[in-house]
Symmetry: none
Subunit: 523 residues, 2 copies
């Protein structure tokens, strides 16, 4: 049984708080979804605004491999003919092969929101589908609030589906619009509906109860053949059902045909790309596609995974284009470090002196409060230093930071820095900044940019501070984790000190060193 | 039927990438979970490290209302007596009323990881439970990898449960350790297990397939009476089952008794507090507890919700202490604030000018990046200031901080401070410190101790920094949260600035002010 996947990232997904896709973003996403093998791509609400109109005009020019583009819209309004209704005309004007028309299945909505007689709502549905079919469209009917409607008035909810079926709908999609349905309810209601309605059924779930993925899967197991959702689960409130989770579950875990094995390997990258285009941080804990999804921390787990990956991994990460990560933390033992090292230096053995030295440094570091999880770049530098593979790009002689708050409450931060550059020359630089770390960072870059123009692109993208020994109060040791990016790669570094400025400085220097090391080694 | 809720935020939740709770954090969380009515709180892995030992020592001193603290550990090792095994002794030494002992239910693990005969594993389980029961503990048995084990060798998996039941386990918890099980499988397997095992069953799900919440709910519907999970779904890889989602689903959606209506209203605040203590951003799209969970963006939805909230809300947000947000006129926290205010000033009305002023300050603060969850003392001060109830204990004229790193890598931090004291006299003080915040804190205390000797006891117990707008790099605004204690009370304060020193200063001053305010008001 082939399950058809319907993506609504560009319409429902764009309802996420803070998200607004440009037309270029949308066109890019359409092409990527097509290459991934998604069957339907909903482009937007037809006729709702000029941006969506322009999108459909340009999307028609795209050469898609297999995906069908769809336009979304409501049924005709009450008490008028479909042919005279602008909703219908907007749907036709979008020029897509497929149209998705949404109608009300909950009598409460018909009465309280539409405020039309129940019979008229049925006519609106049937007429609209019929009109679109007469205009040679493939028609998908989205049955809004179907599950809420069914629970209160099953007979009426089913009649709305029959109206769509009578109109000739090619697929009838049961929507849990408020996201309130529980999995077992979904199972029972989809089964009952399938017994009554003579048309292919689909599912459209929202995540307000945290079970949208489960509801979608269960609906398929109960007979639905079409699944609507968004990439990364974007959507209003708590989001829509997440296709990045549903698709591998259907295919890899349960065995429904939907996306080819080859295309499944694109999943992690495409999920990440959609995050980038939405300008939202990628949720690294997300199933299948997060950076943490196959990351192992506890020493016992790591040992077990190395003996047999099935012991702590429910699928092979490669199937979805992700990878296993062994986190370097105080809970993971020697074997973790070894695995990481061996990847770069396959000639090393468990008892090579370099391995011992790195292991000792790691232990010592962790005792002092370092943590390399999230700071893999600092760990890499430490490793390369021991292996004699890390040249020194500069030598720090000292720095000062002065922060002042004046009587009129103005703040001023300045830093001076003294270092010996690659030509053994003393560099002495100063800078102001927004706060002491910014001032230091600017002074350091100023001192190095002449030799290393590539540093221009480096910026700090995150900064975390953790107090290590709370009992000593403000005199406590702090650990600073810095995340940096040059627009392509992202790396994390760490510094530890009783002095937050020194800890920040240390992480800052590692970040710069790592960038220079990567450039040097063509990484 | 009462469902018992078991929280493992402090053990499994602490496995989240990047999370490490301080002992103070853990003690605070225990108290909050207890107040929320959570039945079991797992404190940590007994005997695994000195930090967990200290935690159990201090946790024993806490007066809990109803929650039972539990210590976690493995069964005895192979081929030795329980009474001679250190695992068992660590569990007893933790001194908790309840212990949770984990054993293997998947034959693959017994063979490949433990490498002991299948029969010996059964004996390890039974002996361990028996030993702990003989020592008068309530014993929960966590059946690791139960579902994977059942799918490959149901007879053996069930035998491991029987071993635990024979040992006298008070509850047997079926774990989906890899998070790979699908909802319908869970239903079938729990039902089959219940028919066979004569002991109360529990469920412990992981979210690797994105269905941990659904699996937990379905397990309860299939007969489990005990649910394990973490706050905010923290945990290794993709996290554990999220109690913040499961509990309201069980109670409000399906009608299982677990947490009182009154306590359910604490859910949103407590979820947010746990995020703060974990130093992770709160996921605002999370069901029930996210800021977006009941936020309405589309105009049609807003209209409909105003006609009848049920049209686009699956539950009333107030039931879980959350609130509806209409995104065009964002007024977050309003009902919370009102409740807080009315408690101290019962004569206030919703439209008193003081209430309006506090709302305005709150809104302005939130726009600037302040956040008062975890910084209730700062909020209290703001409230009391508006109510005219907060006297000024000193007036700051200015400060400087100088941080130097010398050529021999020594760090030195010093601060000077100028303020007007209660007698209108200028105080000018200086201090060195371990880092700039410590130097500032010491200089401030020095200037005030003559007048307020009670400040002697105040110490900073935690210090958290969050970058608010990561994109601007080191020039980003930061929020500093400080936790202080005088040995009896613990309070949190907040500061926001582009300059980490200024933000720290602000939180520091609030902390001191709050202590002086409390003393003055005999609180």
């Amino acid at each position: 049984m082939k399950i058809l996947i319907y993506d609504t990232t560009l319409r429902d997904g764009a309802q996420t708080e803070g998200v607004s896709f440009s037309i270029e973003d949308k066109l890019r996403i359409v092409q990527e979804l097509d290459q991934m093998g998604i069957h339907y791509i909903e482009g937007g609400y037809a006729g709702s605004n000029p941006k969506d109109e322009e999108f459909f005009d340009r999307a028609r020019e795209l050469k898609l491999n297999q995906a069908k583009l769809t336009a979304f819209g409501s049924t005709r309004r009450a008490n008028r003919k479909a042919v005279e209704d602008s909703n219908m005309h907007h749907l036709l004007e979008a020029g897509t092969e497929v149209v998705t028309v949404v109608g009300k299945s909950w009598d409460l909505h018909v009465k309280d929101v539409l405020r039309v007689p129940l019979g008229e709502n049925l006519a609106m549905i049937e007429d609209s589908v019929k009109f679109l079919k007469r205009n040679e469209k493939e028609v998908i009917f989205d049955s809004e609030h179907f599950f809420d409607g069914y629970k209160e008035n099953p007979e009426y909810a089913l009649k709305t589906l029959e109206a769509a079926a009578n109109g000739g709908a090619d697929c009838i999609v049961l929507c849990d619009t408020c996201g309130g349905a529980m999995p077992i309810e979904i199972k029972e209601i989809v089964e009952a509906t399938k017994a009554r309605i003579n048309a292919p059924l689909g599912i459209h779930a929202h995540n307000d109860s945290g079970v949208a993925v489960a509801n979608s899967i269960i609906a398929v197991q109960a007979g639905a053949v079409h699944v609507q959702g968004t990439f990364n689960g974007y959507g209003e409130r708590c989001g829509n059902a997440n296709l990045c989770t549903i698709v591998p579950n259907l295919k890899i875990k349960i065995g429904f045909d939907c996306i080819s094995d080859e295309n499944m390997k694109r999943l992690t990258n495409l999920s990440r790309l959609v995050s980038e285009l939405a300008n939202l941080p990628h949720d690294e804990q997300k199933p299948f596609v997060g950076k943490s999804a196959f990351a192992h921390k506890g020493g016992l787990h790591i040992d077990a995974v190395q003996k047999n990956p099935r012991t702590y991994e429910h699928i092979e990460p490669e199937l979805v284009g992700n990878e296993r990560r062994i986190l370097v933390s105080d809970q993971s033992g020697k074997s973790t470090v070894l695995t990481k090292l061996m990847r770069d230096y396959p000639h090393l053995e468990k008892d090579s002196p370099e391995v011992k030295e790195i292991f000792d440094l790691l232990k010592e570091g962790e005792r002092d409060g370092y943590q390399y999880e999230g700071a893999e770049a600092s760990f890499e530098l430490m490793m390369q230093r021991v292996m004699g593979n890390l040249e020194s790009f500069f030598e720090l002689k000292g720095f000062t930071v002065l922060v002042e708050r004046s009587e009129n409450h103005e703040m001023r931060s300045q830093a001076t820095i003294k270092l010996v550059d690659v030509n053994e020359k003393i560099e002495y630089e100063a800078s102001e900044g927004h706060g002491p770390v910014d001032a230091l960072s600017k002074a350091l870059k100023k001192a190095l940019l002449n030799f290393f123009p590539e540093l221009e692109s480096v910026r700090l993208t995150d900064f975390k501070v953790r107090v290590l020994d709370a009992k000593t109060g403000t005199a406590a040791k702090v650990r600073v984790l810095i995340e940096s990016s040059d627009g392509e790669e992202v790396w994390g570094t760490v510094g530890v000190s009783e002095d937050i400025i020194e800890a920040s400085w240390e992480a800052l220097v590692d970040s710069i060193q790592y960038k220079l090391f990567m450039n040097k080694n063509g990484d």
